[in-house]
Amino acid sequence: MTRTTGTGRASIVLRSPARAALPEVSLRIDLRFIVVCAGLLAATVAVFLVALGVGDYAIPLNDVLATLAGGGTPQSRLVVGEWRLPRAFLGIVLGAALGMSGAVFQSLTRNPLGSPDIIGFSTGAYTGGLVVILLFGGGYLQTAVGAIVGGLITAVLVYALAYRRGIQGFRLIIVGIGVSAALSSVNSWLVTRANLDDAMQAAVWGSGTLSGLGYEQLWPVLGLLCLVCPVLLGHAPALRQLELGDDAARALGLRAEAVRLSALLWGIVLVAIATAAAGPIAFIALVAPQIARRLLGSASVALLPAAVTGGLLLLSSDLVAQRAFAPTQLPVGVMTVTVGGAYFVWLLVREGRKR
């Protein structure tokens, strides 16, 4: 049934039929939440189908659909099934992972500028990747390992340096700023010292790119995300209580420090998966939760809408990155910043005009 709650928002309330044997269960779902998420998912499917169809070898929509259903010509099975499908899928799931981890970090720091970079992970990952590419000339796998190692060392360092009888949000931010700044200066030093070709190759990896990714990346990523995402979604109610402040959360019976550490950890695991697969893709984690929050018109950042927004954003950015300057392919990270930034500007302009 639909009803308007005290907050003035329409919502659906589901109740289990009252029976003596079973405890009564009721669930309230916000109507706008459903509409927004459904809209975002529909847009994702549409962009997904377009992404499978367009390219140097264009395939009409009905052939794409036929191929997805298991039919299609041998060419379309190769182009769509083997080349474009895994890349488009990776765009969605990696974007979702980044969006969700961004929501976790913004909720934890209660700061709209919060992102996994607060704890220095992306900067450290970039350092690790640069060292492997520029100093050792490593390939895809070595770079991925280097990025993960660099990112994890940095995150542990930031957490350890900020730890002093518990983690205080503000100190975490300050230490994160410090360590990230030091590392990004190392990064730009490495880039200025390298020769131009190596530096440009490193810059492409460093902005994050989906080109050349296939099923051998998709399956591990998908498997890991299926494990991590439910765990993180389980943290959602506790995170909402933490946003009230540590004291209030403790009064509600929450072990603030433990919840924060565990949410932080799973948030980092999500970024680590995305970074290993595609390099440090910028901005999705920062902007997806904020876009989702504005679409929902809610006061706090929510995990699931942030994930859906992130997936749509990365998928569309990758499409633009492939096609905008074809045949030259830009790294998707350059586009996430541009597309995400442009959309966010538009959203803020519209928000200003409406009120």
Partner: protein
């Protein structure tokens, strides 16, 4: 404490004149300065000290002061510890027009970059403010921050798109983007000095109203401070200061972020003292980093933006651990 800080500043200016590819003892530096002031004497030492290193030291000092004070202002205005002058889109705007300058107008030296960078910084800030101020709630700090982040991202995305498609632009940008004082002469100094001086004066006039705003906007207006006017002045001052600094030295991110935090932990929350001490301490950090950058990888120089973050960050982390740190 202020006298101590001023002494250290003087020492770091002398150090900046003495150290380099050729080391000149401080006594000779002073002698050369006195000779030049009295209009007599010439020679190699005087040429190096007065002709080459003095303008660079002055550029370093005013850039440092400008970055520090603009950081203090923007943190006070937005009440966000993560805010630095770059948040209003200044670095991204400057970088964008410099990219355009290299890519389309073939600009290749610092004298050319200065005006592109300054125009970019001013345009970006103006846009951020216009978009942020749209709507009845006006330019609230949160809105300004978010608009700055969004627009900055958009501009930097377009810049990196241009530079990844064009190796020559990429090459120019990776050096400009690191932030350096190398070969800054008196032309650069005179180009940015007026803007930075006006910015510093404006900063001095808004210190007291910013104290009132720190109590909350309602309380501030009942104390007689004009919230809107203060915001506008702060944004103009930040644009002049950070725009001028970025035009002179490239994007140096860390000074504006770190120095106001550290100063606040020592002198307390009074903006008047924070601004004064920041204006003295930030140049110390920048000049020390510049001197260190000249000697650490001879015969090359390490860009000052890189050294600043590298020596500043451990200090920041150490202080954040030692002291009972306070938010905004």
């Amino acid at each position: 404490m202020l006298i101590l800080a001023l002494t250290v500043l003087a020492a770091s200016i002398i150090g900046s004149l003495a150290v380099g590819a050729r080391y000149i003892p401080p006594a000779e530096v002073l002698q050369a300065l006195i000779d030049a002031a009295q209009g007599r004497g010439s020679g190699e030492v005087q040429e190096i000290v007065v002709g080459l290193r003095l303008p660079r030291a002055f550029v370093g000092a005013i850039v440092g002061a400008a970055l520090g004070v603009s950081g203090a202002l923007i943190q006070a205005l937005t009440r966000n510890p993560l805010a630095d002058p770059g948040i209003l889109g200044i670095n991204a705007g400057a970088g964008f027009l410099v990219t355009v300058g290299i890519g389309w107008f073939g600009v290749g030296d610092i004298q050319g970059y200065v005006w592109f960078a300054f125009a970019g910084a001013a345009l970006a800030t103006l846009l951020v403010f216009v978009i942020g101020a749209a709507g009845p709630s006006g330019a609230t700090p949160v809105r300004l921050t978010l608009v700055g982040v969004a627009l900055g991202a958009l501009l930097s995305g377009v810049s990196s798109m241009i530079s990844l498609l064009n190796p020559a632009v990429f090459n120019g940008m990776r050096f400009w983007g690191a932030g350096t004082l190398t070969s800054r002469d008196e032309h650069v100094l005179w180009a940015v000095l007026p803007f930075i001086l006006i910015g510093l004066v404006l900063a001095a006039t808004v210190a007291a109203p910013l104290n009132a705003i720190a109590l909350g906007e309602d309380l501030a207006s009942s104390l007689g401070a004009s919230v809107v006017r203060t915001r506008v002045i702060v944004i103009v001052a930040v644009t002049l200061l950070a725009g001028g600094a970025t035009a002179a030295a490239g994007p140096i991110g860390f000074v504006g972020l770190m120095v106001p935090h550290v100063v606040r932990w020592f002198v307390g929350p009074d903006q008047r003292w924070i601004i004064v001490f920041t204006a003295v301490c930030a140049p110390i950090l920048l000049l020390a980093a510049d001197v260190l950058g000249r000697v650490v990888v001879p015969p090359q120089e390490m860009q000052v933006g890189i050294v600043t973050a590298f020596i500043g960050a451990p200090v920041l982390v150490f202080l954040a651990r030692r002291r009972k740190i306070t938010g905004l």
